[in-house]
Every structure is written in structure tokens, then in C-alpha cells.
Symmetry: D3
């Protein structure tokens, strides 16, 4: 099984974190291709950054998905997730959605531990769009400037654990989601200190990707995830144009 | 990995169907223990039957879960699912919930194809309790007496496919869930005739069980899925009394 | 009018509390039959215990309902309520549901005062299943070990009143539900100290049972509360087997 | 026990229908005072008419509630219901709410049978405001001009039964609410022809009123149903001014 | 363009506040007619007062709307709003609804700053009825007796600003609604001190009224906002009787 | 007042339609700048196309918004809307949201008339994300291949009117939204043939944009629509990089 893992942001060190945790998670025999966004921002905190990251994910997926069995979008908030599901004919998994469906099978209500105050609105809206608002006990977030996105766990580990403990104690969380690719691996390293299961988005995403590949469901030819109806397009990167507008000659000038 | 698969009903031939499909689904190295309810009804169509089946599932799980890595409740409607999650310290997966979380990662809205008119209310309430009502496009069900619960696929296969087609065409389903243990395997056998992915509850449950075991989250010592507080009990089967009331001598008379 | 009041738990002293309060509530001419579960736990705090209590309630009801005009399930959380409604042809009332529908006719938002921290998740899910989550102002609960389930009112009365006051002051409750059979009678004894109406589940249940008997609606022969379709069953107590599987000879061995 | 039954509309013959059915429903010892709106419309089909009827109900209640134990608002849609609950210190029951809480204790989903197409929007919004939308299977309504509001049952009885049958068959109703004061008594007269329980709003309201009086909850001095804070008022009928603005001399000119 | 602005309460000084702020908001060429309720209360805090104010708004609108292009109901809680929309053939705008739709186009979640503790329940129910509960971050309210309804801004300005700041800081509000006609103009005067947009209900209502007049949609002849079906009425003020019961001679005695 | 109207798609003839209808709608003194996406697809039917269009809208807005008072995103589905609201300091209006808030002030429930079967899922999800699902009576859509996106009104006008009539008659719509920029102007041309108000998204958006500019709310410095926290970015067009990553030298290579 071969999985394409997309970091929709430009931070190579976060891609390394994701890869490191992903390699611990996968079954033997599963291969990974890692991809980092060629354009965009360091990490996604806002709707605007998610809009950029989602488009970056589409470009990467269009260019790199061939010969893979599934795609993982490795940023919390799942930028571009449903767009990718429409244009690819293989399973596409998002970190948030995978963590949510895992959390729901482990407990009733979950809390999300996040890296910044600002990021909470975007997380809340993502969780709502996935349909899990009723099970959200709380989002608790760091309230410190992030000196280095690739080193949050070292810099803020204790604070993150303290937020997690309060989510269980005060908010009634049955499960914790330590959210965001920059926290990849933290759930594992602090699990023994927390009184409820702590989930890692990257790990959940990899396991769900494997499960969906195993499931082997055929891609749809009807419904809202059939390929988009063909239509004129222009100015899209060639690989993306092939998927969206498909055989249309106009689509060759890379503009973006 | 060793999984305990519980049929909370008394139909041995349905257990065989479940086992047959489960064995196709699991990874090499995964072992299965099958268990059939010693008391109860032939299959669950109603809340009353689910109440009985849920209690049967608790008894079976209490007696048989030792040495297993996860438990699968193999009846649509997931009788006893959250009860089992409270008293066992290993992952517990339900057919319905597993199918729902799989469906959500494949499409936006799903339809459920069911074996009888009466069963629809129970399914609708289960889906609501899982929190997925907003994504339910429709439930469509057979309207024929069920001559033999172990042979519905042979007897009613064409009718079931026709219901599935209407769910896609008229109700806007992106995904189909062919629901109920008696339909185990049908999704696979008719997949090529359906225009959207068709999911089998047994298969989804097995894949989710493997994913949750792989995830390896520690059991909770806080929150609403920690072990129930100890309290007096009586008249419960010994194995169950040990889990629920734990060390209490009074609990030895098997009454039921 | 003759009402069967079922305590789905094994605590005889709680049954006594229920009976005492019930006898104050009923109209002259209403007769009560009290029944205590022959198996199960001392009181229900969790989903697992409710699953057991629900099955116990089914057995008691099957054995004892004859010659009664209605059944009351006298445990908060209403274990087995909808199951009983399917198999009996007389009204079945639950303490929680009766308290909720009464509360809604008295105010807009209600708070529930509960006997333990752990019980809150189960109460929250019951209220959600009844469809009243939007009107729930808060659940506030004791945070002390319960020395003796039959003497909570004496031991914790002041703490319970303090919780109730905070629910009104801080959470915006228009009505209070003092929840759980072990609190039967407390609403009456502390009413004069509380600034909003305080409801007792047992009392509400008795009044609703009388109202439903007076209403005299015919039992359904269609819809999801018609009798479950006949099907094979085995290993059920005889009385229950008659209701669920009805005329099937196989159902005679009492196993449970 | 003495109940004030308010018809918030001007139709004396509908008041007679209500009274006739109410007298069949009440327990011996319960007395009724009937009141018909001195101003307003013949029956309520719209939000505008409900706004008028609600104000009429306030005036009648203010003038007539003394010496009564509870008030019943006897028009579907419950015009003025929560307003009355704020200004009176006795229980106030609405036909719709009483029918809804009764229906919920009899089945899971209900349908409403209504007297005109136009009335459906107002009913739907009332049910939503009561918080029961999720349990509404359907509203089905006559599509004929109403020649005489006091004789709908005679004129349209068969059509109403046919609508009820379709609600059970096609919409999945477990219970039927035959809605609107002009249908008072119909549930009783056609019950034997319908396969699920059929509820009469007047009867439900009377039974709930008796249950709430029996419950004897003290009126609130806090929360949102305490008496409205005193404030200047003018131009209100004296009795209403006393309740709303209380001791304010300015309130004496009856203007309306 | 000519707009009728109705204060459904009797406070002339609040009407002056509304007018003053309205005149700052309107475009040149827009004319205003101000109307104050001839009967009712000083300001609306409760459901009961809203019921009265809504009926007063209907009477004023019936008498004064001729020759106007739209009507504005200038009390938070929008008393009578949907009733007016049914009986008038010109746009009708409510302060609350206009503020809510404006807030939603400026941010994701909003808080409401209110003048009294008691008023919160009525505001919460209004926001729910408008369908915006999910976007409500909080309601924060003064907890002081209101000495003079026309001078709250002077008396309580600093406290209101402090509440607004907490709503942003602690509750996650993206937008603030300074609610209630007595606060007309406050948003403008304190805007520079608040870190998120602060909306004034009167101003929002005037702008939405102008936008709806510009939109020029034809009044409905079908659906639930077509004119109510003609029916007998009596005792209504002549102008209102003409709109509700229309040509019916009985409707001439002004009673109210 | 100067408004930037962005067509996030590449169809110049649709931009012309939008402009033509927009010029009819605006007040004298309002100036328009029209912009068409330099890359993307002909029109948006799917989530994938919306992801592309949203990014295109961000690029256009970044480059062209200077000296404008507000921005209008002129495609149904509002691609990029909340992203733009985060990075611009002027009001941003979306066609869908503007139509929805207008519809809600005109009636209670609305139907959307759409140009293709496939587009319905994307519309439904947009309406849900805006929070208006409960008011959606139906979406009805053409089921014909679209020969020329700029000429749908001529080619399919009668079919669209027929769909609208069915939405009123069968689905209970109080208001119609004729959705999608390619239908700009249709509401006006067919209004007289429809029994309920028919809204045009472009017109609604222009009126809301004017209203929001008139409202003059200050841009936020807190909350989730303050400018995104500064962070490294790369590969973004210069104008967009300035808004998102702001002063970062790395952001100069246009990649996209």
C-alpha cells in the first residue's frame, strides 16, 4: 500500500515531524510519499490560510497522486479535503476528520488541544462542518507567541499537558485530540500522564487511510463525489487542469 | 491481533455469514473468535429486541473478552455498544458506528438499505444517537415477510439493489450502507452494479477494530468511560458481576 | 386505576422511598404495585448499568403487568422505557421523560441536580435522546462518595440545595429537576427554600401515568410501537418470551 | 379543582365544542369556566391572528383567572402561552404543548392533521418553538374552503381520516394529533378507525392541567418566569395593567 | 423612500432616541414617520410585554402604514414582526433580525449586550426563533435597577462597555450587538473603544429597510406570507379589521 | 461608494451578465469595478471548483481592492468569502449569504432554483455553513446539459420558471432564490409570473454591500476576523503575500 501524505504548508520541519510520526504508525508494507506545499504559509491558523493551503493541496495531489492508494491531508482543519475527494479516484483522508471519527469510537465527548488562541475559530468551524459539534466538550489553546513552529512540543509541552488535564477535569472530555501537525507525536509522548485517551491526528489519519484502502470501495460514478462535470478551464497547472477540466487544451499556462 | 466478534442474536447461520465476510476482511495475522447469543431473538428489528441483545452482548463480552485485543458488536443498531465500552478496557466497535464513520470519509450523505419496514425506526434512532442524522439521505427497506433470516440475500437480492439505486437517484446518496448482519457480504457481491460506494457493516467494523487496536490508545481512568464506580450488585452472571460490581460476593447467583 | 411501579435496581430501600413518595402523589382510587429488580446493581450511574436495568425492567414488566393500567419505570435515565412501550399494550411512563415534559410546561430552561459526578454523562445522553438538550441549562452534581444510597437526602441535603441555588443563579434555570429515585421526596421537602419550581421525578411520573391512563388512547397496530413482528427466540424467561417471540415453544428455558 | 378554559377566538360554537369535549375529559370534582375572546378572529390560521389571539388571551386571563387553579389556552398554536405563564401564578397549559408532550410519551414520531393548508406554517413554527421539530413526521392538511368552522368534523370527517391514514402509512407517524379546537372530539370519534393512537388537543390539555395542579409546584420568584419587573404602563385594561405594570395609576384607560 | 418606524412601547423619550439615531443613518431622500405605542409598557423585558407590544405594533401599522415603503419595528425582540409581514404588502424590518443578519456578514459569532438580567431569556428566544442560536457567543447584561429608561447610556455607559469587552475577550465574539432601542446610538459613541465591530439595532434596521425597498420584491400571493384567508372578526380597531378580516362589517367596534 | 465585484470564474460573458444586473441595482453614486478570474473554471458546480475559485478571489481581491469601499464575491456558494473577510479591512459580501439574509427578511422558508443537478450538493453545504438549513424548503435544479453558461436564461427560462412554481406549490417556499451568477437578472424578468418574491443573488449582494458600507462598522483588531497573525509565507503573489504574511521578503516568487 502506498500513501501520499501532503503537508499543505511550507514548513519542511513540520513535514519531518509528520513523517516521523507517520512511520511509527503505519503497518509494515505501507509506503509513504511525503510532499510539502511549494507555496503558502508556515502553518494554518485562519480561514484565509486554509483557503491557500487547500489549493496547494489540490496542486500537489494532482501532480503526485498517481501510483498511490490513498492521500492524507496532514494539516488540522483538513484544507481541500472534500475538493480532493471529488477529483481523485482513491480514498482521501483528513487529519481532523480521522481524529474525530476515532475519538467518537473511543468516547462520547472530546476536547481539542490547540496551539494558538486564533486557531480555535477555524477548528470550531471545521468540527462543525464535519458534523461533530455536539460532541465537542471544549477547545483549549496556548496563549503564547509561537517562537518556532517545529519546536512547539519542546517549548510548550508542559503547558499543553496542563490544558489537556483541565479539559478532562473541567470540561468533561472523554477523549483528547492533540491537534495540529506541529503536535504530531505529542499524544504518544504524554499519553501516560493523561487520564483519558489522547489522539494524534497524524496517527489517526494513517490508520484510517489504511482502513479505507483495505475497505476497497469503488469510486463513485454518481452522486456528489463523481468526477465534476467537464467544463472549460484556463490558467491551471497542467496536472490539475487534467483532473478538473480534463482534456481541455486551454489549460496549459501555469498561472495560479 | 485477536478480535472477539459478538452476534447478539441467536441465529447461528447469521453468525456464519458474519464470520465468512469477516474472514475476507481481516489482515493476515488477525484472529477471530465468533460468539452467538445464548438467549434472545433471531434478529433485531425493534428497541425491545435491542435491549435484550445488548444485555446478551454484555454477558458474552464479560465471559469471552479475555485475551482479545478488541470486541466487535456485529448487529446493526450496535446493541450494548456504549455499555461494553464502559466495562471493557479494550476497544469496542459497532457495525453501525463503524459503517457511519467510514461512509463519512467516502461521501457527504449516505442512505441505509434495510431488511424490513419495521427496522427503520430503530435504525433512525441509532443513527441519531451516533450524531449522524444530518448526513442521512434516506433509509429504504424491503417490504416483504422475511422467510429465512440467513437467506435474505438470495431471496431479496434484486429488490435490495433496486432500493439502493433509488437511494442514489432520488435521495441524493453519495454512499450506501447495506445494513444488518444478515446482509454481510452483499455490498461486495453487488458493488459493481451500484454507481456509488456500497459499504458492508461487518467489513467496516473489522477494519475499524484493527485501526483502533493499531492506534493503541490507553484506557481511561477518568471521564465517562472509566470503569463504573463500584457498587453492590446481585443476581448477575459471575463474569459480568466481576466487571460491573467487581469484587462483591453477593453477585454469584446466575438469575438473568 | 392500578399502576405497576418498577425499580429497575436491586435496592429495596430505594423502592421504599419511591413508594412513600408515590403514595403521597396519587389520587384516591389509584392503586400501586411496587416491584424491585431481582438482579442488577444498587443504582444506575452509567450506560452499562442502564443496559442491565433496562433488561431487568423488561422481565419485571413481562411478569407483573397483567391487570395494571400503566407501568412506571422509576429510575432516572428511563432504562428500558421504549422497549417496554413496544411490548406492552398499556401506557409506560419514565421518570426522566415525565419530569422533562412537566418542566417544559412550567418554564423554559431547566437544570438537573444529580447525586454523583459520574452520573452526569448518562443523564445528558438521556435528555438528548428525549430531545430536550436545548432546554437543559445545566446538570450540577454532588462530588462526594455516596455512603448509603437510601440516605443521600439526609447525608447530602444541604449540598443538594446549594447546587440547586447555583443552577438558578448562575445557569439560568427556570425549573429544577431533583433527579434520581434516591432523591424521591426531596423536591417537596426543600421546595420552600428554592426560588423556582422544583420537580420530583417520581411525582411527575405518577401524575403523567394517571394522565395517560385517563387519556385512554388505543394501543397501536401500526407504526414503530406496534408489537414487534413475531420471530424465533430462545432462552428468555417465559413471560418475556411470550411478549417478544410470542407463541414459540423454544422460549421456555429461563437463562437470562 | 377549578380550571379556566380560554378560547382566544371569537367563535362561540367552537367554545361549545371545546367545552363539550372538556367535560368528557375532566375528573369528577374538576370545575370548568369557559371564556370566549371578546375581540379577534373566528379561528387562527396565521401568525397575525395568533398575535391578536394571544393578546385577547392575556386580557381574558387577567380578568377571569382569580379563584382558578390553572388556565388552559384552547387554541392550537398556544397563543399567548408563555406570556400568561409570566404574569399568572398558577399553571398555564397550551393545547399544542400538551398534545406534544402526550404524543412523546406514546410514540416516537407524530403527525399533525390540520384544517387548512395555510395553517401549516404556523403549526410548524409552534412545534419548533416548543422544541419538537425532530419528532414531527409530517403535517397533513385539508385543502378545501372551510364553510363553517364549527362544523368541520361533519363536513370533512372522511377527508381528515384519510389524511391521518396517509400520515401513518407514508410518513411514519407513531401517533396522530388531530389539531385545532374545531376538531375537538374527533380523535375520540374516529379512534377505532385509526391504526395508531390519535390525540385530541383539548383532552390532552385538560389532563395536563390536572396533572400540573396535582403537582403543586410553587410559582417562581426567580428565573424568567418570575413576575416581570414592575415598570410604567398605560392604556391597558385595568386587570391586565395590574398584572403587568401592577400598582401604576396611569394604567386605567382601556384602549386596546 | 418613506419609512414608518414603530416604537411598540409607550416611552416617548425612547422614540426620540430612535429617531435621532435613525436620522443619522438614513440616506438623503429617505423620510421617516415615527410612531409610539398608545398603550403598553415602558420597554420590553419579557414575553408578556412582547405580546402586548406586538399587538400595539399591529394597530399602529394598520393605521399608519399607508403611503409608506417599509415599516421598521424598533424594539429588540421584534414584537409582531412576522404578524406584520403577513398583513402588510410592504417590507417589514425588525431591529433584532436586522442586527443579526448584519452581524453575520461581519463576523462569525456575535455577543449581545443587554440592559437587564431579566431581558436575556426573551432575547435568547428571539435569536433562536430567528435561527441564529449557533452563532450566539453570549448575552451579557447589566445587573442594576434601571432608574430611567431614556438615560441608560449616560447612567450605565461604562458598565456596558466593560460587558462588551468581556464578551470579546472571554466569549469569543467577533461582533457586538448593543441591543435594545434604549441603547440606540451607543454603538456609534463607543465604537472606537471596542476591538470588534459594534452594531446598533436601529441603524441596522434602517439600512436593511432601505435595502429591501431597493430590492423591490413583489408581495406574495401564495405561501405563508400571502394575506391571511378572509374570516369573520369582531371587536378589532377598524384599520386592523380591514387588514385581517377585511371587508367584514362586524369589525367596527374598537375594543382591544 | 466604490465596489469591487469579483467573478471568481473565468467566464467573461457571465461577468457581463453580473455587471449588467449590478448596474441596474446600485444607487446613483455607487461605482463598480468588475474583475474576472484569470485562472479557474467556467462556473462552479463542485467543492473542487469552489476551492479554486476561492483562491482566485483572494488573488483578485489582494490586487484590486485598494480604493474600494467593499468587495462582492459574485458566485453562488461564496467561494473565499470568509478568507477575504479575514485579510481585507473593508466589508466583503457574498451572493449566497446576501440572498439568504434577504430571503429571511421576506419570508420564513425559501427554495433555491439551480442550474444543474450536480450543483445541489455544493449549494446545500453552503447554506448549511451559513446556518440557514432549517429554512431551506428545497433546492430544485435543471436536469439538462448546459450548452452555453452565458445563455442559460434564454435556453432554459421556461424550465426554471416551472421549477420555481413547483417549489412554491409542493415544497412550501415563501421566497425563491434564483441562484447562480449565470441567472443574474432572471428574478427581475420573471417576477411577475411567480406567486412569491423571487430574489436575484447579484442584486441582493449589491444592496447588502451598500448597506454594510453605510453601516460603517470599524474593522476588528480582535476576534477571529482580525488580521491573521503574521507568519512566514512563500510562493504567493506579491499582493496576497502582503496581506497574509505581510512584510516577508520570501513571498515574492509568483508560483500559485
Amino acid at each position: 500500500m502506498k500513501l501520499l501524505v501532503i503537508n499543505p504548508n511550507i514548513s519542511g520541519d513540520v513535514t519531518d515531524l509528520i513523517e516521523s510520526e507517520a512511520r511509527r504508525s503505519i503497518r509494515s508494507g505501507t509506503e509513504l510519499t511525503m510532499a510539502t506545499a511549494p507555496f503558502g504559509v508556515a502553518y494554518i491558523e485562519t480561514r484565509a490560510e486554509a483557503q491557500i493551503g487547500g489549493y496547494a493541496a489540490m496542486q500537489i495531489a494532482a501532480e503526485c497522486h498517481a501510483d498511490h492508494d490513498a492521500v492524507v491531508v496532514a494539516a488540522f482543519g483538513d484544507p481541500g479535503l472534500s475538493a480532493l475527494r471529488e477529483i481523485l479516484r482513491i480514498p482521501v483522508v483528513g487529519m481532523t476528520e480521522a481524529a474525530l471519527v476515532s475519538a467518537c469510537q473511543v468516547g462520547s465527548r472530546f476536547s481539542v488541544i490547540a496551539i494558538s488562541q486564533r486557531i480555535q475559530a477555524w477548528y470550531r468551524e471545521t468540527i462543525a462542518a464535519c458534523g461533530f459539534s455536539d460532541r465537542l466538550a471544549s477547545i483549549r489553546a496556548l496563549d503564547e507567541p509561537l517562537a518556532h513552529i517545529g519546536r512547539i512540543q519542546e517549548d510548550q509541552g508542559e503547558r499543553l499537558v496542563a490544558l489537556a488535564e483541565r479539559a478532562v477535569q473541567d470540561d468533561g472530555a472523554d477523549v483528547l485530540i492533540l491537534a495540529g501537525a506541529p503536535l504530531a507525536g505529542l499524544a504518544r509522548s504524554v499519553a501516560s500522564r493523561l487520564p483519558v485517551p489522547a489522539l494524534d491526528g497524524v496517527t489517526c489519519a494513517l490508520h484510517q487511510a489504511q482502513a479505507l484502502v483495505d475497505l476497497g470501495a469503488a469510486p463513485p460514478t454518481a452522486g456528489s463525489f463523481a468526477l465534476p462535470p467537464e467544463k472549460p478551464c484556463k490558467g491551471l497547472p497542467v496536472a490539475l487542469a487534467r483532473l478538473v477540466g480534463r482534456d481541455i487544451a486551454r489549460s496549459v499556462t501555469p498561472v495560479g
